[in-house]
């Protein structure tokens, strides 16, 4: 379903979609020439143009270089709306509310633990449930405790012994979005969440042990306490069934609301409601609950990662030094203040498959990172590499402080399975020094490198466009998938 949307090249990394038809503003896609050729092969540019039609949009409808076709909004989409005459759209956040990723650093050297990787991976696999028929018996919550998780997020986890206060300081929003109201979350979503707190989930969720292979900015790396050869851990997961149910519930509600408020939708999947409406307020309160659930989830899993390292390597926490570098969201709508045409404006910024990337001296980033900027973690596929970036002024000026989030798929799961057929994927990865264990049989075939774009290309575009600055490249050694 090729695109016939016209794009104009602005420069080597920026493409403009001019205003036509019902568009209220222009579209802006970050990509290089090669990428743009394949981006045109599906309808994601149409989706960027459709988002530009929504009421109260401020600035341009944007897309990051990991853009691909999504539900209403493209994945990799960024769009901001005025609080008075703009809208909020669940499709601009995604089903997996606060799907996100965190990076742990350590005091370990890759070469020292390489022989222990199979044992570590197997222990992680045992200690961190995928959530399909598996959950830990030591985390059973009452309804009241669930409400606390939804309002307190990662703080709940820390209060209950999963991690430390230092962790909280190094999470976006300090691991808790205010204004969360469990009453706005359906009973159904509560029930799904109760069963799934502390589980990884499948698809592209994972825990990955890796190491720092290359540094691009020595000073920035020092500020993040990263060094060459250092062992790292990445945790990638979201709000599980609770978030999916919240999205589902509110899509239904906002489909009706779009009609009620006479909002013309170029695509039913862009269902939305005015930010001043009751429906929007309730969605934001429910979204915050789901976001907090995800923060709590990543925090809990982090605790089990630390326990696993202690158990397998027989080392104390003070020697392991598995400290949290940062935790970022990929699917979220945030109320933020940004400068627009010289004025400070309060906006609702949708980032779907996109990451916040605030610059140095930003009030909302940790003290420790005031000089260097907000860390941004960009995971690639399980066979290649991931990147650490920091936020920039360029991002603040152009994209409301946003950047890409990952590699982006290029093959469907079905196609990936075909490409993987007959191959011993786990063996191939092992031969390259990467030990993988997955809970679902299909998952590993579906997640092969060939199924994904090369995250290096994505990261290079944002780096050269000035909306993210490369700091380090990480390579995987051991991965568990849900």
């Amino acid at each position: 379903m090729a695109s016939d949307i016209r794009v104009e090249k602005i420069d080597d990394f920026r493409w403009l979609i001019p205003r036509t038809g019902q568009m209220r503003t222009e579209g802006l896609v970050y990509a290089d020439e090669t990428m743009m050729a394949s981006i045109k092969k599906d309808a994601s540019l149409e989706q960027v143009a459709n988002v530009a039609c929504l009421p109260g949009i401020v600035g341009r409808s944007m897309a990051m270089p990991d853009i691909h076709w999504g539900y209403g909004f493209p994945i990799g989409g960024v769009a901001a709306f005025d609080m008075e005459d703009g809208i909020i759209s669940p499709g601009g956040v995604g089903y997996d509310i606060n799907c996100g990723v965190r990076l742990l650093r350590s005091g370990l050297e890759a070469n020292d633990i390489r022989d222990h990787i199979p044992a570590l991976v197997n222990a992680l696999f045992r200690n961190i449930p995928s959530g399909v028929g598996s959950r830990r018996k030591d985390l059973k919550l009452s309804a009241k405790q669930m409400d606390e998780v939804l309002t307190k997020g990662a703080k709940w986890a820390v209060t209950h012994g999963y991690g430390t206060l230092e962790d909280i300081k190094h999470i976006e929003e300090e691991g808790c979005i205010s204004g969360a109201s469990p009453d706005c979350v359906s009973e159904r979503a509560h029930k799904r969440g109760k069963e799934q707190l502390g589980t990884l989930g499948s698809g592209n969720h994972f825990v990955e042990i890796g190491f720092v292979e290359e540094l691009y900015d020595e000073a920035a790396a020092r500020a993040l306490s990263l060094y060459r050869g250092q062992v790292t851990v990445i945790v990638h997961t979201g709000s599980r069934g609770l978030g999916h149910q919240v999205c589902d519930d509110y899509i239904k509600r906002l489909l009706a609301a779009s009609g009620k408020y006479n909002i013309h939708l170029p695509d039913k999947q862009l269902c939305c409601a005015p930010l001043t409406s009751k429906e929007s307020r309730q969605y934001l309160q429910a979204m915050a609950c789901a976001a907090n659930f995800a923060f709590c989830n990543r925090q809990t899993i982090t605790h089990w990662v630390r326990e696993t390292f202690q158990e397998v390597l027989e080392m104390a926490p003070k020697d392991l030094q598995l400290d949290l570098v940062y935790d970022v969201c990929h699917n979220m709508a945030k109320i933020e203040t940004h400068e627009v045409d010289g004025k400070q404006r309060k906006l609702c910024v949708h980032r779907k498959g996109a990451t916040r990337a605030f610059p140095p001296h930003s009030r909302l980033i940790p003290e420790a990172y005031q000089q260097v900027g907000q860390p941004v973690l960009i995971p690639g596929d399980m066979g290649r590499y991931s990147y650490v970036l920091v936020g920039t002024e360029g991002a603040m000026k152009e994209t409301f402080g946003s950047t890409c989030h990952g590699a982006g798929r290029r093959l469907s799961r079905h196609q990936a399975k075909k490409v993987a057929k007959g191959r011993a994927i786990v063996r191939e990865l092992e031969d390259r020094g990467i030990y993988v264990r997955g809970a679902g049989k299909g998952t590993i075939s579906e997640e092969i490198s060939e199924a994904y774009k090369d995250v290096s290309d994505v990261v290079n575009v944002v780096h050269h466009a000035g909306i993210g600055k490369k700091v380090a490249k990480l390579r995987p050694m051991g991965v568990i998938k849900g």
């Binding site: 994945i75 028929g133 499948s202 069934g241 149910q245 469907s412 679902g440």
Partner: protein
């Protein structure tokens, strides 16, 4: 035997087209297509029964609600379902009896998990006396 459903390409997600001689058959085949994503049907036995009721504003939304309800049963009770008997089906309401068993990791292998049933590119329609639907899942 006429095809009941077939899977279609969609980057990152999965979709299926469903076919049925009757509206009821269409909804039954949709449910079968959903569960085959999760697990091989031959491995599922009919040990337990549940009554399911869903309502929606229109027939296509009803398909999403139906499949969503079945997914909810899997997510919260670990139920793998195999047989679906629809007793009531109007534009807005579906009642059914469903049979299957709880997930047993010793016998069942979960192929892929499903995040949600979406409204993306959704349709349910009658053509030349037969029914056809399309549903995209978020994986």
């Amino acid at each position: 035997m006429p095809r009941e459903y077939e899977y279609i390409e969609h980057t990152g997600d999965l979709g299926f087209k469903v076919y049925g001689e009757t509206r009821e058959a269409l909804f039954v085949h949709g449910a079968k297509a959903l569960f085959e994503v999760l697990v091989s049907p031959e491995t599922v036995e009919e040990k337990e029964e549940r009554a399911v009721t869903v309502e929606a504003g229109a027939l296509d939304e009803l398909m999403v609600s139906w499949l969503g309800e079945l997914l909810y049963l899997f997510d919260t009770q670990g139920l793998l379902l195999k047989r679906f008997e629809i007793t009531t089906l109007t534009e807005n309401r579906l009642e059914a009896t469903v049979r299957g068993e709880p997930l047993d990791l010793q016998r069942h292998e979960i192929k892929t998990t499903i995040k949600a049933v979406t409204y993306h590119q959704l349709y349910v329609r009658e053509e030349n006396g037969a029914w056809e639907a399309q549903v995209i899942l978020d994986l």
